[in-house]
């Protein structure tokens, strides 16, 4: 833990904390959701406010008359939709830029994150798990990459050379070259931002779900959502597929490997919806 904090303290430009997201998440966890507080929270952020109004008045949601205010827009869209939009806008701000240290172009990490999150949500639904939680945890699973990308850029040739000579998972190469890896650094950063422990744990262990203890189910959802995105081509960068197969993720959720193609088809069917999120402008 200390070495993760030390590392984070040394990084010059950490992304700004997505202030609304953890608070909104805890508001929506309650049985009796306080609509006024949700609206007040969103109103703090002009970019998110605009996105909520735009989505509400878009062709798929708008009624006979456009919603004029945020309050009305939130009511019409519903908390769940609003929450996903907030997650999308916050996520795209952080994950949108290119991550040269990984060979990831602008927009690619964001695409990867959204497709993973949608896949994890679909798997959560079929397993009877909390869909919003799976969506959020998966959306943020690669946050650590934006912290490590700059450092990796300086050793990129080592990274490429290293993975050429031997089949090493990217996460192990990171650890060897930098002393830390992106999953644990992302989890630690989210903890500092007051995200709940289930999410930080799922992010920290998303390459080894069996190590996540109490949160192994959520972590397995993140793992499998991530896999679906890779298989479908939404996994980018140098040796993007250098990750280990963890059959335990299937065991933990009592899924058969044959379910993976089905989840790919379901995720594919959601692509139109994903596109609208990918194109969200903050």
């Amino acid at each position: 833990m200390q070495e993760l904090d030390d590392y984070l303290d040394k990084v010059k430009s950490l992304p700004p904390a997505p202030k609304i997201l953890p608070e909104l998440l805890s508001l929506l966890r309650k049985d009796d959701i306080d609509a006024d507080r949700v609206v007040k929270l969103i109103a703090f952020d002009p970019g998110i406010t605009a996105a909520v109004l735009r989505l509400c008045n878009s062709a798929c949601f708008s009624g006979a008359t456009p919603a004029s205010g945020l309050q009305e827009a939130v009511t019409r869209l519903g908390f769940r939709q609003v929450y996903q939009l907030v997650a999308a806008v916050s996520g795209s701000r952080m994950l949108g830029p290119a991550q040269k240290g990984y060979g990831i172009d602008a927009g690619e990490l964001w695409q990867h994150s959204v497709v993973s999150a949608v896949a994890a949500q679909l798997i959560a639904k079929s397993c009877g798990e909390d869909e919003s939680l799976a969506f959020t945890a998966t959306l943020l699973h690669d946050l650590g990459k934006i912290v490590l990308a700059e450092a990796l850029e300086h050793v990129y040739s080592d990274l490429v050379e290293n993975s050429k000579s031997e089949q090493t998972p990217l996460i192990e190469t990171e650890k060897r070259l930098l002393g830390v890896q992106h999953a644990e650094i992302g989890g630690r950063l989210l903890a500092r931002w007051n995200f709940p422990e289930n999410i930080t744990s799922a992010v920290t262990f998303h390459h080894q779900p069996a190590a996540a203890g109490n949160h192994e189910r959520l972590t397995s959802l993140v793992y499998l959502g991530n896999m679906v995105a890779y298989f479908m081509g939404y996994g980018f960068g140098h040796h993007a597929f250098a990750l280990r197969g963890r059959a335990e993720a299937l065991d933990i959720l009592k899924l058969k490997p044959e379910f993976m193609p089905e989840f790919m088809i379901k995720t594919f069917e959601q692509l139109q919806f994903i596109q609208s999120l990918v194109n969200v402008k903050s």
């Binding site: 298989f231 993007a240 597929f241 250098a242 197969g245």
Partner: protein, 177 residues
Amino acid sequence: MPAPSLTGFNQKVVVGIAEMAVSNNQNVTLTTYSLGSCLGIAIYDPVVKAGGLLHIMLPDSTIDSAKAAKQPSMFVDTGVPALFRAAYQLRAEKHRMIISVAGGAQIMDAGGFFNIGSRNFDALTRLFAEHGLKIQAEQVGGLVNRTMHLNLATGEVRLKISGQPQEVILCKNSTTT
């Protein structure tokens, strides 16, 4: 009577996941992005200069026959025949067809629980063997995400590998005309 053809400007036609396109327009380059474990299958007849590109996602349509009826290009067993049939309509002929294949990336999974990429390629090679077809050029498997281009004027197939700056030539067809 052949339709008039457009000349003078290049067009890029993007083939999405579970889609295909064929053309004999010499100004067209067919492109499919980010293959992952999916397979990109390019076919080209250098005599009539017609060809097509297919982006399949899964090996076997029996998993979801309703989906296959609506979107045959999602699966190897329904997409590949559809691609060839479409190319035949442009007077391409089977015995002249030059076939290039890319994609089918695989994570490091010794247990084979997540082997969609290799299952896709196995299904494809089985289908080709049944029909006496040979792959001219392939770059399949490995740890990388690939984008594939087919130039209909030359039949050249190029790949862009994610994380690498330069495109590479997978198949250079110009010599075979």
